[in-house]
Amino acid sequence: MVISVSIESENRDIENSMKETARALLKEKKVDVIIGYSKGTVPLSSAPILIRNVDEVERLVWNNLCYINLAKYLVPRIPQLIDPEKGDLNVGIITKGCVGRALIHLRTENQINLENVIMIGIPCNGIINRKKIEKEIGENEILELFTSGNEIIVKGKDFEKKFSFEDYVNELCKVCKIKAPPKIKELQGSYVGECQEVSSIDDNFEDLTEFESKPTVEKWNYIKDTLQTCTRCYACREACPMCYCKLCFVDQNKPIWFQKTTEISDIISFHLVRAMHLAGRCVACGACSSVCPVGIDLNLINRKLEKIVKERFDFTSGIDASKMPPMMEYSMDDAEEFMLEED
């Protein structure tokens, strides 16, 4: 039954069904506003968009560059989604797998009320790693990027390059098993469009073995090299659907735990503590890496977090609303092989 279809035609199907659902929802007045993606004005980007009436639905797109996690706009709700008189508007949200996971996880953390949110599920087919392509092209300007068949075509003034989609998709998307929003029984009525039944995920985390087997010094050097360009603009934090704290730990000044300078030790401590805070919460959307203006790849760290919680606590964020996240729970039987013991 498996028919091999190309990315290009998949995109078209996703986009069409998404538009149809969106139109129907708006027409039936089931939602007041739809959050989705529109075509970016710069070749390697997409712009989130708020759609309020049926004619605007045409502007919705799906093109493998929709890297922003839209759950960000719901936690906390941006003012445009709140009516001064009616209160919270009914929101339709274009939901790829990781947006769905984010919403479900945020619900477990009591951060969001999904009653007036309708998830327009789409079977995401992967997000292009735009940083990797940019690096590959180097000092040339990309003027156009589109998918044709199973290839990514990048065009500039006097060059045209083809990349295979499989290789240039985000590292997280390569191993992603939750393409459409996971279905949970607590939210039966909130789904429109595609969604997927997920009970548990099998993942062997093979992609991490190479890095993990490196000696400590090499790991340190790699991390140091990767992070040293960080400008501390906090785009990673602001794009992360899980970073909803009103006051981030780096901004606290009573007491000041970690400084905000761009010295390497401060940068590393920021990313280390942020990783700590995302343990068991990261939904593997890769938005942090996609938005980083200086091209830092945080996906490796995010993968590691997923691995730790999966192996230690058998937990995957955002697929099961009945399970508490590991850092909100405790158990007598946790493994403690890392504790110091007498010989």
Partner: protein, 279 residues
């Protein structure tokens, strides 16, 4: 040219706790270097960036008057990291001071006029500076009638009790104190500042009114003043804003194209109405 971010060092000469709750203290600072003191040439209403080395810096209005020679005073409420640090200070500790910054009260323009000073809560510090200045022997004759209306939540919150007592004894100044709710042994008035202003009813003829206090007090008082025929140019106001540098470089205290730290903090109501409502 010199590095404008380097504070001049002063040592704490005296610490006075100003209220019953003990969260407002007045620090009296003495410059370590006489030269620095001479260069610290200020008028009432200006502020300075005072810093506790290792904790940080914050902008505080100068509470002393240039006529009180030798030291400068700052009244500090315990709020954030730096101010809490100041509250832990003892006599002899070292405090950095940069300044004076800002425009201050327009004392030149106020000459020959009646002056009404309306204050609420602990926003009275730069008003203390102004009144002490106006009451100085050499200066008093330049100004006409001075009226002070000072409101507080309760009697324990009244700042600068010693100077207030002195002022009450003088006959060239009218001091009206008020608290929000009735209290045993309280001799002043009872009620919010705005109705008391109405009751006192200062004349708007050739007068300037200086208002400092919490936003809600300012709002209600300005209505009363407008009823008393004060125009927008006669009403002066001192703004607060988050600041870091005090010299218009760090960027955060702008209201429209004006910086509160260099174009303010004193604005007349007329000026404020011209600025975007973003403060």
């Amino acid at each position: 040219m010199h590095n404008p971010y380097i504070p001049k060092l002063t040592s704490i000469k005296d610490v006075v706790s100003e209220n019953k709750v003990n969260d407002i203290k007045t620090l009296e600072l003495e410059f370590q270097n006489d030269d620095d003191y001479k260069k610290f040439d200020y008028i009432p209403g200006q502020f300075a960036e005072i810093s506790l080395i290792g904790k940080g810096e914050c902008p505080i209005g100068i509470a002393s008057s240039p006529t009180e020679e030798g030291t400068i005073k700052f009244t500090i409420k315990k709020m954030g990291t730096v101010t809490t640090g100041f509250h832990a200070c003892e006599i002899g500790d070292i405090v950095g001071v940069r300044g004076p910054f800002g425009n201050g009260w327009p004392i030149e323009d106020m000459k020959g006029k009646d002056i009404v000073v309306i204050g609420g809560g602990f926003a009275f510090s730069t008003l203390r500076s102004l009144v002490v200045y106006l009451l100085d022997e050499k200066i008093r004759k330049d100004y006409k009638k001075i009226t002070i209306i000072y409101g507080n939540r309760d009697s324990g919150e009244v700042l600068y009790q010693d100077v207030l007592e002195e002022w009450k004894k003088r006959d060239d100044i009218e001091v009206v104190l008020t608290i929000d709710r009735e209290e045993k042994g309280w001799k002043g008035k009872v009620g919010f500042v705005a109705p008391i202003v109405k009751e006192v009813g200062p004349s708007s003829d050739n007068a300037v009114v200086v208002v400092c206090g919490p936003p809600i007090m300012i709002k209600t008082t300005i209505q009363v003043l407008e009823d008393l025929n004060f125009n927008d140019h006669q009403i002066l106001n001192s703004l607060e804003m988050r600041m870091k540098c005090g010299i218009g470089k760090c960027g955060r205290c702008n209201i429209g194209n004006k910086y509160v730290c260099i174009d303010g903090p004193v604005f007349s109501l007329a000026e404020l109405k011209n600025l975007p409502n973003e403060y």
